[in-house]
Symmetry: C2
Subunit: 318 residues, 2 copies
């Protein structure tokens, strides 16, 4: 449609389509659909497909913007959108600053993805309750991103804030809210919301810890992201908040000055103190809490499905 109206517009739509097509775990749509079906939603309804697509497009928007905020150059083994657009700007010999152009296009592509997400959800969410959950989800995403960007710049080791951000970003945004959207679309029993909240927050914490472990100890080839980026950026991750709380040696090394801490020394110390194994234990424990929450309240087949999803999300290599 945009090609007919103005062919140049296709470049923006392609940024969005490229990110959607580049893969990803599709966690948020999966949780939405699973909750919808578990709550007794009609499998033939197109609304849940629209809602699931809206969640994926919202995430696409967040990734396009996040890569700009983090100055990240690699995503899913490909150059990020803002880097590609900046390169195009340079190759074409265009006017102005290539960096600003690339970042502007990536921000606008993220905006377009957000607009598409909202359009899909506006069509799918027929109840006040469903609209309210979507509104809270999108608002929390923006506030959560801001707190993350702010904490990275402020840069004080603040384990409580790190935990709060992780619950927002992973617990709510990735798990609990997508489940709540699915359950609300099915117009299921309101009691399910509490179950999904408990499952989501526990799983979200385990999920975020896995994210941090993959950044710290995973390989860039498998994750498709630069290795140890959080370290290089001295990020106050959930992993770091555990290390600071549990390991006197880490506390001594970092002191009040995470930015001033040598990332290689810190990395070596985390391995030596065995924080990795300890965090694996926390992950297993949080997974258990999540699984018990659904076992107690859902039909066995759906409890098993959500438990399998939780295990796959937490024991992943990318």
């Amino acid at each position: 449609m945009w090609a007919a109206s103005n062919p140049d517009a296709v470049e923006l739509v392609d940024c969005v389509a490229g990110m959607v097509a580049s893969g990803g775990k599709r966690l948020r749509p999966s949780f939405c659909v699973a909750a919808y079906l578990a709550a007794g939603g009609d499998p033939a309804s197109p609304a849940v497909v629209d809602a699931a697509a809206a969640l994926e497009l919202l995430h696409t928007s967040a990734l396009l913007h996040d890569d700009v905020f983090d100055a990240s150059e690699l995503r899913r083994n490909e150059p990020t959108a803002h880097i590609r657009q900046a390169t195009l700007h340079t190759e074409r010999g265009w006017h102005g600053e290539a960096r600003r152009y690339g970042e502007s296009v990536a921000v606008l592509a993220g905006n377009l993805a957000l607009v598409y997400a909202d359009r899909l959800m506006a069509g799918a969410a027929r109840t006040e309750r469903c609209r309210r959950i979507w509104g809270e989800l999108t608002t929390e995403l923006m506030v959560g991103q801001f707190l993350d960007v702010r904490a990275a710049a402020r840069f004080r080791p603040d384990p409580a804030l790190a935990r709060w951000i992780a619950l927002f970003k992973s617990g709510r945004y990735t798990v609990a809210r997508p489940l709540a959207v699915g359950a609300a679309l099915a117009d299921g029993a309101p009691g399910l919301q509490e179950v999904f909240e408990e499952y989501g927050l526990a799983l979200g914490e385990a999920f975020q810890l896995r994210d941090d472990l993959l950044d710290a100890f995973g390989s860039a080839e498998v994750t498709g992201k630069p290795a140890r980026l959080d370290f290089k950026q001295h990020k106050m991750t959930l992993l770091m908040s555990f290390a600071l709380a549990d390991e006197p040696e880490v506390r001594d090394l970092v002191g009040d000055d995470l930015p001033g801490t040598d990332p290689d020394e810190l990395h070596a110390l985390l391995i030596r103190t065995g924080i990795r194994d300890r965090v694996e234990e926390v992950i297993a424990e949080r997974l258990k809490v999540a699984n018990e929450a659904v076992a107690a309240s859902l039909p066995p087949a759906w409890a098993a499905e959500l438990q399998a999803m939780a295990t796959a999300a937490v024991y992943r290599d990318k």
Copy 2:
């Protein structure tokens, strides 16, 4: 609410609130409310207030992002949000690049304003038609912004594209679509949409030409924006597209190389060739078309109201 949840979050909400409170012409809400009432909408309904607020918040979002794309330092006589946030970053001695921090916060504030706009409109727009218009309006905004950013970087004198972008950005986004939202909310006669489209596109062009004239010949003190920014950025404005089409001397000076043209020389030539008076004539002519469109189709009192709004929008000094 966010203050209780996390006091740091207030800084982001304040970016949005600050921009909304800093003034502006409130054109889009005014057009929405006028069309709603002209189409027979119930004055006591809260939906039109929500819709009008959504339009203003959408515009707030666009301004916050636009200032980043344009690297603009001044808006409404105050430093822009990204500049203020970058300054804060430096003053606080925070970690990382101040520019990236300021721009990230401004982008997130714009996102938050967009999310609020969508939440308000999701509650107000109860009909499919109204939701469709809002969806098209927000999509067109992002595509229009992209084409604008792209054209500024590509930087070839392309009068047809300049005109197309002006129709998108001013005709549709500022006038026709807000009117259409108001008319759809009132569930008025569908025939009105065509009248509003004609009025909106003619008025939008006149409005954009005024914008360009104010940039080229206005004073920064009155407009609250840096003077002659379009010139300094060698922008292919609607004014320039007229000058290139009408003035052989301007064509000779610019040739194929607007970026390479000396802005002061170009500015002096535009004054000497009298393009300013000629553009004033085009503005008057477009205003006449807009006014005739509503005179032929609306009750006299509402036609007069919309004509007064058109005149105020076009003959303004900032």
